[in-house]
């Protein structure tokens, strides 16, 4: 696989149920996402956006096909490792619609939780976390609890958490859904900046077409097929 490729999906299928309850969601999806690329994943509700994201995130079992994350082939008709959770911990950062920070951990503990689980020392992980928090301009909130921060600050802390394990891939599930247009644009611009500066591949599920021009590329699910389109940069807000 090309060293610039962060995600490669080949002939991926996903269906649910059997007999009368059989539903096919994704049929023969094949695409790549490069490092440093911000890709939007757009489709109507129920079309399978989150399912596709979950399969790439090693959470949902595909029916068949292959998935590469970085240079590691993780799925080929079956998971090639029993430690899918390790792959998520080491290679992927997740961002959700809500911040979903652990409410009983302060901001820096939320950010350092995964790195420390990966074996990074407390001192080193905190040093790196503080740099990330500084990057997101919430360094002074490091010892605050999530309940003490505004929604925007928490979302930035959640993005810092997603980056803390130095992932190759960020999977963002509708990170702007709860935000107004201005804040949505800020978050997407931030994701683009991260993708570029940290050389990370970002897939962002979104319903907001206004965000698409900010992305490098758009993946849509049409008739169960994944189609890649160039983003229309002329419509940037």
């Amino acid at each position: 696989m090309d060293s610039k490729t962060a995600i490669k999906v080949e002939n991926l299928y996903k269906s649910f149920g059997k007999g009368d309850a059989y539903i096919s969601v994704i049929e023969g999806a094949s695409f790549e996402v490069q490092k440093g690329e911000l890709v939007a994943l757009v489709a109507p509700s129920g079309a399978g956006k989150t399912t596709l994201l979950m399969m790439i995130g090693c959470v949902e079992d595909p029916t068949s096909g292959s998935i590469w994350l970085g240079d590691e082939k993780v799925y080929d008709g079956k998971w090639l490792t029993k430690e899918t959770r390790r792959i998520r911990r080491e290679k992927i950062g997740f961002i959700f619609q809500a911040h979903y920070l652990i409410p009983f951990l302060n901001i820096i503990e939320n950010v350092t939780l995964v790195p420390q689980t990966n074996g990074v020392s407390k001192e080193q992980s905190e040093k790196e976390a503080l740099e990330l928090l500084k990057y997101f301009d919430i360094e002074d909130k490091a010892r605050s609890m999530p309940s003490e921060l505004s929604g925007g600050q928490n979302q930035r802390a959640a993005i810092a958490r997603a980056l803390a394990n130095k992932p190759q891939i960020i999977l963002a599930d509708e990170p702007t859904a709860a935000l107004d247009t201005k804040r949505s644009v800020d978050v997407v611009k931030m994701l683009k900046k991260i993708a570029t500066e940290q050389n990370v591949a970002v897939i962002m599920v979104t319903h907001d077409e206004a965000m698409l021009p900010l992305c490098d590329r758009v993946l849509t699910i049409e008739n169960k097929k994944v189609v890649s389109k160039k983003s229309d940069k002329t419509k940037i807000l």
């Binding site: 959700f96 619609q97 503990e109």
Partner: protein, 381 residues
């Protein structure tokens, strides 16, 4: 490494402490129940030890005055006293009375003994005020729990008694407070019918019973004689039941308390099971409350072991806090119980071990929920 259990408990400290204290009160009742049993065992032996007799000679085929009604003639003591190996013998009575105090009647056990005899029934270490009985009539020594004062007059039967001594910790084998009166007064109260009844019996031609009865004859064995052998000798020839002190102790601590101990044992087991279920339910609810966070933890890649450790540590800490609360609760109220409650260190240690095992078992329901939590629950859409 971040200790998730510690951080979560700190976050919900008030709720966690109050919940633990609630469970602790339940466990405190377990401690009290065990203490009640320990108290019963001690109470059962107080009078037996205070009397200090080697032998208890009672009505044939009865277990003696602590367990069954027993009547023997008072002059049996003279016969017993002449047996080989006997140093001295006296009559003793035990009966239940209702003592009138300021506001109410108090149920007591009255011990009747010869104040001028060889047995010093009142343990001098229990005497906290006044003196022992020194006259053959109308004196009473009462335990402090009854509420009588030194010099107070008490009306019993046909006579008025004066309280001449106060004891502490004197109880019957059933844990009731004791009063001591002279044997002659006790016989009058227990065996002497009213004049009207005696006249009526005479008119009917019925034989009027002698009031010179006792419930048991107690005896001391001379040094150098085997108590068991002397007991067998008396039992064989005098057609009475004879018990050594040890046999009476067994009657008191095994036969009489057997049912009570089973009863308390059942309650204790039920309370421990209920406590375990309550801890399990609390942990289950606490786990459910953070199932979203658990799903997120799983999604971002935290290993199951780390999440399970959090649940088990929280449960164990709840158990330990509950145990501490149980001890504080039990020690702060056990003296308020009307009967003796004895809280012993080994019982607390045993309960601690049981609580730890119960906590580990209870944590399993939370662990099961953790294992079943689906990381997909963290993401909507």
């Amino acid at each position: 490494m971040i200790n998730l259990a510690k951080r979560e408990i700190e976050h919900t400290l008030g709720k966690f402490v109050v919940t633990s204290a609630g469970v602790g009160m339940l466990l405190g009742i377990v401690l009290i129940m065990i203490g009640v049993y320990r108290g019963m065992v001690i109470d059962a032996q107080v009078l037996l030890d205070d009397v200090g007799a080697d032998l208890w000679i009672v009505q044939e085929d009865t277990l003696g005055p602590f367990a069954e009604a027993s009547r023997v003639h008072e002059d049996l003591k003279n016969t017993i006293a002449t047996q080989e190996g006997i140093q001295s013998a006296e009559g003793i009575t035990l009966q239940n009375l209702q003592i009138p105090t300021q506001n109410t009647l108090v149920r007591v056990t009255a011990v009747g003994y010869d104040p001028l005899g060889d047995f010093q029934i009142i343990n001098p270490t229990r005497l906290v005020a006044g003196r022992v009985l020194m006259q053959e009539h109308y004196e009473m020594v009462a335990t402090d729990k009854i509420g009588l004062k030194l010099g107070q007059k008490v009306h019993l039967g046909r006579d008025i008694y004066t309280v001449v001594g106060i004891t502490h910790g004197s109880v019957s084998s059933g844990g009731e407070p004791l009063v001591y009166i002279s044997l002659k007064d006790a016989q009058k109260l227990q065996f002497l019918y009213s004049n009207a009844r005696i006249r009526n019996d005479r008119t009917r031609g019925a034989k009027v019973e002698s009031p010179h009865m006792v419930n048991a004859v107690i005896a001391k064995v001379k040094p150098g004689y085997a108590v068991d052998e002397v007991a067998k000798q008396i039992q064989r020839w005098k057609h009475k039941s004879v018990y050594t002190k040890q046999q009476q102790r067994e009657v008191l601590t095994k036969n009489l308390i057997k049912m009570a101990s089973k009863q308390i044992g059942m309650f204790t087991v039920i309370l421990v099971v209920v406590s375990t279920i309550i801890i399990a339910l609390i942990i289950y609810t606490m786990t459910l409350e953070k199932i979203k966070e658990i799903a997120i933890m799983k999604l971002i890649g935290l290993p199951n072991g780390m999440i399970v450790k959090m649940i088990v540590q929280e449960t164990l800490l709840m158990g330990i806090l509950a145990f501490i609360a149980a001890n504080i609760f039990a020690h702060s109220i056990y003296t308020k119980f009307p009967k003796r409650v004895v809280l012993e260190y080994p019982d607390a240690v045993t309960l601690f071990v049981v609580v730890i095992i119960a906590s580990i078992l209870a944590s399993m329901v939370g662990v099961k929920k953790v294992m079943a939590a689906d990381p997909r629950e963290a993401i909507g859409g």
